[in-house]
């Protein structure tokens, strides 16, 4: 009886305010989808940072014959003694976990695996590849101090911190995340105002009914619930659309990125994000409805 009555009231309210309801649904859908994309990027960046932090190494490239690097000019290739001395020095540093030597043949092998440009891969010869030490650090944050101390050593051509390469990518992802979250906040604000307006219109449309309900002693819950439920249902439908958008984003965008980045964004994360955005959407709808009702539906 009660549920029946309330749901028929909700249905009437949604139908009477169809255009406003659609506006609410679209705003909530877009806002929540952007919020979700932001959260998904955040989770992707976090998991990738963790993954790469373990793997990031310093590459200490060594001088070859006729190397173009300033530090190798006129000195020729690094000698075997220098190599051994350098390896020993690096190994003795307390921040260093391990040092591995990569000779030109291995470097070429790795290069051929990772290089997509076939023509380039085909013409590169062993002599073109540099030798290097792969230095693994205990704490990647202390890389700069080590770089400084190795840089001046004889036979070192240049040092590349792999993290610098990744940082560009992470920086881009972070900016994308903040942009998505920023727009999401705007959309959430717009959704709140729209829901408020919808509830206000709804309350005005039904002022006769609510007046009589007050008069005959209907409880506040009974009077307010249909209005709040209207907001909740619009929010839920918006949330479903947002979920569809998020799944599409995962399939089209993140699966594409993953082929470069090795850390997949799992469906469990997507499910979590969808649940969270739906909850946020519904809570916003409930709050906006209640606040508006307090102003326009005196009980």
């Amino acid at each position: 009886m009660r549920a029946n009555f309330i749901f028929s009231e909700v249905w009437i309210g949604l139908r009477r305010n169809l255009t406003m309801t659609i506006a609410v649904i679209v705003t909530v859908a877009v806002g929540m989808a952007l919020l979700g994309v932001g959260l998904m990027i955040n989770s992707q960046v976090t998991s990738m940072t963790g993954y790469w932090t373990d793997k990031v190494e310093l590459s200490v490239y060594l001088c070859k014959k006729d190397s173009a690097f300033e530090s190798c000019k006129d000195k020729g290739a690094i000698s075997q003694e220098q190599k051994n001395a350098l390896q020993a020095t690096i190994k003795e540093m307390p921040e260093v976990e391990s040092v591995e030597f990569e000779d030109a043949a291995k470097a070429l092998e790795n290069f051929k695996i990772s290089e997509n440009n076939r023509t380039l891969a085909a013409i590169v010869k062993v002599e073109d590849m540099p030798e290097s030490f792969r230095v693994k650090l205990r704490d990647p944050d202390k890389a700069s101090a080590i770089i400084e101390s190795i840089e001046g050593q004889a036979g070192v051509s240049n040092i590349i911190n792999e993290r610098d390469l990744l940082e560009n990518y992470f920086g881009f992802m972070n900016r994308l995340q903040y942009m998505a979250l920023g727009v999401a906040i705007l959309m959430v604000g717009a959704a709140t105002l729209l829901i408020g307006n919808t509830v206000r219109l709804s309350a005005y449309n039904r002022r006769r009914e609510t007046g009589i309900m007050r008069l005959v002693g209907a409880s506040n819950v009974y009077i307010q619930l249909p209005f709040v439920l209207e907001g909740v249902i619009a929010g839920l439908i918006g949330g479903v659309f947002a979920a569809v958008l998020l799944i599409t984003t995962k399939v089209l965008l993140f699966e594409g990125i993953q082929s470069y980045m090795a850390v997949p964004l799992g469906w469990d994360t997507v499910a979590g994000v969808i649940t969270l955005t739906m909850a946020v959407g519904v809570i916003i709808c409930i709050l906006a409805s209640f606040i508006t009702l307090r102003r326009y539906l005196r009980v």
């Binding site: 009555f5 005959v216 002693g217």
Partner: protein, 229 residues
């Protein structure tokens, strides 16, 4: 049943009180006319009984409850024991007679079986048998007011407040309305009716409370509207 003790009500931004130190006692089962010119405080009196307004000073007891102590949460329960009828009927235009009366029970969560049983009884009590499926705009003013009375009475309230119920109705039809109010009163319901209609007050010979500028100037059992004191 209704007890006003030294009640004063001043609306915001107004110097003159709408009710000025009013004390009245209405017993269970009484029929009381509240008379006086426009602006004398009749409507304020009724709104105070419903706790739609709060008095600035004084105490009000309705149906055994001290309204000052009644929390907002409990106000709906007070209103379930009070029926209301107005000059402008206040029916829902998109519901028929039966649905208008049933609405009052639906919104306080009464079971459907109960509603099916009592609504036809009340429609018969107010003299609208056979018109349950008419829409309000197919009814005369008198008939619409009967629907409003059926809606006010369907939950068997202890008190019925009527704010100029005959104000929009011709004198001949008003007699029928008064008969229904009298019938409701005979079931033990206390009836408090605010009115301008001298002919009706004179013919009923019930208790009359007269207000003027927010003060009670007369309280007379078996009274008439104006002249005879």
């Amino acid at each position: 049943m209704i007890h006003f003790d030294n009640v004063t009500k001043v609306y915001q931004n107004q110097n003159r009180p709408a009710l000025d130190h009013v004390s009245v006692d209405v017993d269970k089962g009484e029929f009381v006319f509240l008379v006086g010119p426009s602006g004398s405080g009749k409507s304020t009196f009724l709104r105070l009984v419903l706790k739609e307004e709060r008095p600035n000073s004084g105490a009000i007891h309705v149906a055994g409850k001290d309204l000052a102590r009644l929390t907002n949460f409990k106000v709906p329960h007070l209103r379930r024991r009070i029926g209301c009828v107005f000059q402008d009927f206040r029916l829902l235009p998109n519901k028929n007679v039966y649905e208008n009366v049933a609405f009052a029970l639906e919104v306080i969560g009464k079971p459907r079986r109960f509603i099916r049983k009592v609504v036809p009884e009340v429609i018969e009590l107010v003299g609208l048998e056979g018109k349950a499926h008419r829409m309000p705009d197919e009814l005369s003013g008198g008939e619409q007011q009967r629907v409003a009375m059926a809606r006010a009475f369907v939950n068997r309230p202890m008190i019925l407040l009527a704010d100029e119920p005959t104000g929009n109705i011709d004198p001949a039809t008003s007699i029928g309305i008064m008969k229904v109010l009298d019938r409701i009163n005979r079931t033990g319901t206390t009836v408090l009716m605010a009115t301008h209609d001298a002919a009706i007050v004179d013919s009923m010979r019930k208790r009359v409370v007269e207000l003027e500028d927010g003060k009670i100037v007369r309280d007379q059992s078996r009274g008439v509207y104006g002249q005879a004191y």
